[in-house]
C-alpha cells in the first residue's frame, strides 16, 4: 500500500504531502473549469464508446441472424402439392436445417408496411415464400436450383447477401465513427490539460524561478504541477464517467432502448468497467499531456 502510494505521489496522482504544504499555491475558481471540462469529456467519451459498441454490435447481430436465414421463392400460383414436394426436397438438401412455407397471415404481415393493413391480397399474384434456416455456409445453391428446376421451375433461392453486405458495411462505419469520436474526445482532453498546465506554470513563473534558484530540479517542478492538473482531471473524469454510466443504466427498458439494451448494458459490472476504463484513459491522457507540456514550457523558460 505504501509502495502504491509512493508511486502515485511520484507520478502526481497523490499530493506529496510528506514534505510539507503543496508547492503549487491554491488557485481560484477557474481551476475548477479543468475538472468540469474533464467531466464533460469523460461523459461524452463514455456515451460515444457505448453508442458505437451498441450500434456496431446490433448491426453484427442482424447480419448474423440474416446469415442463418434464406428464402426460397416459388412462382405465384404454385399448388400445394408442388410446395410439399419442394419442402421434402429441401429437407433432404445438405446445408439446410429447416424449411417452412409462410402462411397467408405471415405474408400479409410482410406486405403490410407497403400495402397497408387489410389490403385485398387475394387478388394479387403473390409468390409462395418458404423460410429456410441454413447451416454453416448454406446449401450448394447451383445444385439446389438445378434440382428445383425439375420440381418447381422458376424457383429462386435468396440468401439475403444483398441485405447482409450493407449491414456489415454499416457496422464497420458505425465502429469507425465511434472510434473517430473517441479520438476527438481524447485530443480535446489532451489539449485542455495542456492549456491548463501551461496557464498554471505561467501564473506561477516567479515560484518556478525561486525553486530553480534554491536548487530545485525541473523534474520536481514538473511533478508538482502535473500533480495539480492530473488530480483535477481525475476528479472530473471519475465524476463524468460515473454520470455517463448512470445515464446509460437509466435508459428506459422499452422502445428503441430495449433493442440496444443487450449490447449497450452488458450488466452493471460491464458498465462499471467501461466507465472505469474511460476515466483511467482520460487520466492517463491528461497525465501524459501535462507532463509533456510542462517539460517543454520549462525548457522555454530557461
Amino acid at each position: 500500500m505504501a509502495a502504491l502510494r509512493s508511486i502515485a505521489a511520484r507520478i502526481g496522482l497523490l499530493p506529496d504531502d510528506e514534505g510539507g504544504p503543496p508547492i503549487v499555491p491554491p488557485s481560484g475558481w477557474s481551476a475548477w473549469l479543468t475538472t468540469l471540462t474533464a467531466g464533460a469529456m469523460a461523459f461524452l467519451a463514455l456515451l460515444t464508446i457505448a453508442a458505437g459498441l451498441a450500434a456496431g454490435g446490433l448491426a453484427e447481430d442482424w447480419r448474423a441472424d440474416l446469415a442463418e436465414a434464406a428464402t426460397l421463392r416459388l412462382p405465384a400460383g404454385t399448388d400445394a402439392a408442388t410446395v410439399a414436394q419442394v419442402v421434402d426436397l429441401l429437407r433432404a438438401t445438405p446445408g439446410i436445417a429447416s424449411s417452412r412455407p409462410l402462411d397467408a397471415a405471415e405474408q400479409a404481415a410482410l406486405l403490410e408496411p407497403w400495402l397497408g393493413r387489410g389490403a385485398a391480397l387475394d387478388d394479387l399474384p403473390l409468390p409462395v415464400m418458404i423460410d429456410l434456416r441454413v447451416l454453416g455456409t448454406g446449401p450448394d445453391v447451383a445444385a439446389l436450383e438445378a434440382n428445383l428446376g425439375l420440381t418447381a421451375p422458376g424457383a429462386v433461392y435468396d440468401d439475403h447477401a444483398g441485405v447482409r453486405a450493407p449491414l456489415g458495411r454499416a457496422a464497420e462505419e458505425v465502429r469507425r465513427l465511434a472510434l473517430a469520436g473517441t479520438l476527438l474526445v481524447i485530443v480535446a482532453a489532451a489539449s485542455m490539460v495542456a492549456l491548463a498546465a501551461r496557464a498554471s506554470l505561467a501564473a506561477n513563473s516567479e515560484l518556478v524561478r525561486i525553486i530553480r534558484l534554491i536548487g530545485g530540479e525541473d523534474a520536481f517542478i514538473t511533478r508538482a504541477f502535473v500533480g495539480r492538473v492530473v488530480r483535477r482531471t481525475a476528479l472530473g473524469a471519475l465524476a463524468g464517467a460515473a454520470l455517463g454510466a448512470a445515464a446509460l443504466a437509466a435508459l428506459p427498458a422499452g422502445g428503441a432502448a430495449a433493442a440496444l439494451a443487450p449490447v449497450l448494458l452488458p450488466g452493471a459490472e460491464g458498465l462499471a468497467a467501461l466507465a472505469a476504463a474511460v476515466a483511467l484513459g482520460l487520466v492517463a491522457v491528461g497525465w501524459a499531456a501535462a507532463r509533456i507540456t510542462l517539460r517543454v514550457t520549462l525548457r522555454e523558460m530557461e
Binding site: 510528506e18 514534505g19 510539507g20 504544504p21 508547492i23 499555491p25 491554491p26 515560484l207 525561486i210 525553486i211 530553480r212 534558484l213 534554491i214 536548487g215 530545485g216 530540479e217 525541473d218 520536481f220 530557461e302
Partner: protein, 238 residues
C-alpha cells in the same frame, strides 16, 4: 585586473571568475572581472548603486550567464547549457536575495524547509533541524506565519535560515541589511559571522560601510569594490 584574496582552509577555491563581462541591453555592467575566493573566507562586495554588485552575485549564483569569460565554482567550470550541473552547484550555495523571494503561500517554517524538500530529504527526519534553525534566527513565534505578515527584518532572517538549512558551503547575501534598522542589521551580521566560523564561505554585497566596519571587528573580512565596471580589492581603510 585579477583580485586574489588569499588562501584559507587549504587551497580550495570556491569562486573563480575569469575575465567576466556582462551587460544589460548592450550596456556593459562588468568588464573583464577576475576574482578568486577561497573556501572559508568572508568577503564583502561593495560599490555605488548600479555598480553591478547584484549582477555579479547573480553571475556567481548562475542566474545570469556571462557574455564573455568563464566561471568556476568549487573547482568546476560552468557549462552554460548544463541544467543538471547548475542545479547541483546551486545546492552547494545558500543565497539570500535582496528581495528575500520567500514563497507567499508557505509559512516561515515551510519556506525554511523548502530546500530540504527540493533535495529529496524527508521532512520527518529534519523537522528538528528546521525547528532549531527557526529558533536560531529568532522566529520561533513566527514559524507558522505567512511571509506577507512579516516585517522586513523577519523576512531577512527567514531568508538567511532558508539559505543555510542544507548547510551549504558558500553563502551569498545581497544587501542583507538593506531594509532593516541598525540593531537588526547587527543581528544579521552576527548570524553571518557565526556561519563563517562554522566554516562557510560568505560573500555579502552591501553599500553599508558601517556594516563592513562592524564586521571587521568580529571576523577577518576582506572587501571587494566594484567601480567603473571593474572589481578591485579595497584598501584596508575600511
Amino acid at each position: 585586473m585579477q583580485v586574489l584574496t588569499g588562501v584559507l582552509n587549504g587551497n580550495l577555491t570556491v569562486i573563480s571568475l575569469d575575465r567576466i563581462s556582462f551587460g544589460y541591453d548592450g550596456r556593459a555592467t562588468l568588464e573583464g572581472v577576475e576574482v578568486t575566493i577561497p573556501a572559508g573566507s568572508f568577503h564583502f562586495l561593495t560599490g555605488p548603486s548600479g555598480a553591478g554588485k547584484t549582477t555579479l552575485l547573480k553571475l556567481i549564483h548562475l542566474e545570469h550567464r556571462p557574455h564573455k569569460g568563464s566561471i568556476a565554482l568549487f573547482g568546476e567550470n560552468i557549462a552554460p547549457s548544463d541544467a543538471a550541473q547548475r542545479t547541483r552547484l546551486r545546492r552547494r550555495i545558500g543565497v539570500v536575495f535582496q528581495d528575500f523571494r520567500l514563497i507567499d503561500h508557505m509559512s516561515v517554517a515551510d519556506n525554511i524547509a523548502l530546500p530540504l524538500r527540493l533535495q529529496g530529504k524527508p521532512m520527518a527526519t529534519h523537522r528538528e533541524d528546521v525547528t532549531e534553525l527557526v529558533e536560531w534566527v529568532g522566529l520561533t513565534e513566527r514559524a507558522d506565519a505567512l511571509p506577507r505578515t512579516l516585517s522586513a527584518g523577519e523576512k531577512q532572517r527567514a531568508a538567511i535560515a532558508r539559505a543555510v538549512i542544507t548547510s551549504p558551503e558558500l553563502i551569498i547575501a545581497d544587501e542583507p541589511t538593506g531594509n532593516i534598522d541598525a540593531e537588526m542589521g547587527m543581528r544579521i551580521l552576527r548570524l553571518l559571522v557565526e556561519l563563517n566560523r562554522l566554516g562557510k564561505t560568505v560573500l555579502v554585497a552591501t553599500h553599508d560601510l558601517g556594516l563592513i566596519r562592524a564586521a571587521k571587528s568580529l571576523v577577518q573580512a576582506r572587501t571587494l569594490r566594484l567601480s567603473e565596471r571593474r572589481l578591485l580589492l579595497a584598501a584596508s581603510e575600511l
